[in-house]
């Protein structure tokens, strides 16, 4: 079980949050990238062994969306939202 730092509420139990998926790279212009790069953008999600940037929704709390860096090996929150406690 993780404690996730919320900018509004402070550190809260993971049970109050909904996972919003990893942060994807910016959407490329499909007219300027190769077909392979476009397909990769559409179908591949970041899944590293180590820190990954993720979105979480404090759905059972204040309702904020926040971005954290979580280490997939240890579940440590490597970096929380900039304005979190």
């Amino acid at each position: 079980m993780m404690n996730i730092p919320c900018p509004f509420c402070g550190s809260r139990n993971e049970a109050e949050f909904a996972f919003g998926g990893p942060v994807k790279p910016d959407r490329p212009d499909p007219n300027t990238v190769s077909e392979g790069e476009w397909v990769a953008y559409l179908t591949q999600v970041p899944n590293p062994l180590g820190p990954v940037q993720e979105r979480w929704w404090h759905v059972k709390g204040c309702g904020m969306w926040l971005t954290i860096w979580r280490d997939t090996r240890t579940h440590d929150i490597v970096e929380g939202p900039a304005d979190a406690e």
Binding site: R12, N13, A15, E16, K60, G61, C62, G63, M64
Partner: protein, 164 residues
């Protein structure tokens, strides 16, 4: 295990969901208590609780007998576009859990740290209660906990089993 608690299902409250900047809300309705500055705290004035539950998000709670007067004062249908005022009185069911073991019973269903040092007398927060989104606040000798009205009977059953 037997807990030394009293569990009551409270009658309906007058509830309003307020959204928007505090300055705009305060300018629109002068019946509101002072807006709390710290997150997840409430202010009380003349029997009206104003709960700061999220960014630009507030819950107003008062006795149900004052609902019509509050509607007349808040004028939800005429609110300017910067703010939103919605009557939600019939959407939440409140349970009052009081007694020496109130915090123990709350901890069965709620992951919040409810110690006095972390959850003071003016604390209020949305959290989880038996897997449901719930509004949790302190009351005299215990806690008030509100869940969506349609889950009221289920939560009453959970509480009776947890304390049986």
């Amino acid at each position: 295990m037997l807990y030394d608690v009293q569990i009551d299902r409270l009658p309906c409250f007058a509830l309003f969901d307020l959204k928007g900047p505090a300055t705009d809300l305060a300018a629109w309705a002068d019946v509101l208590p002072a807006f709390a500055k710290p997150a997840n705290t409430l202010t009380r004035q003349n029997g009206v609780d104003l709960c700061f539950t999220g960014p630009d998000r507030w819950i107003l709670r008062a006795d149900i007998a004052r609902e019509d007067a509050l509607i007349a004062a808040l004028r939800p249908e005429k609110a300017p576009p910067e703010i939103s005022i919605t009557r939600v009185s019939d959407t939440l069911t409140f349970f009052r859990i009081t007694g020496p073991d109130a915090a123990q019973v709350m901890s069965i269903g709620c992951p919040l740290d409810l110690h006095d040092s972390a959850f003071g007398p003016d604390a209020v927060s949305y959290s989880e209660f038996f897997g449901l989104k719930a509004l949790v606040m302190r009351c005299e000798g215990g806690f008030d906990c509100a869940v969506e009205q349609s889950f009221g009977d289920m939560v009453a059953d959970y509480l009776s089993r947890a304390t049986a």
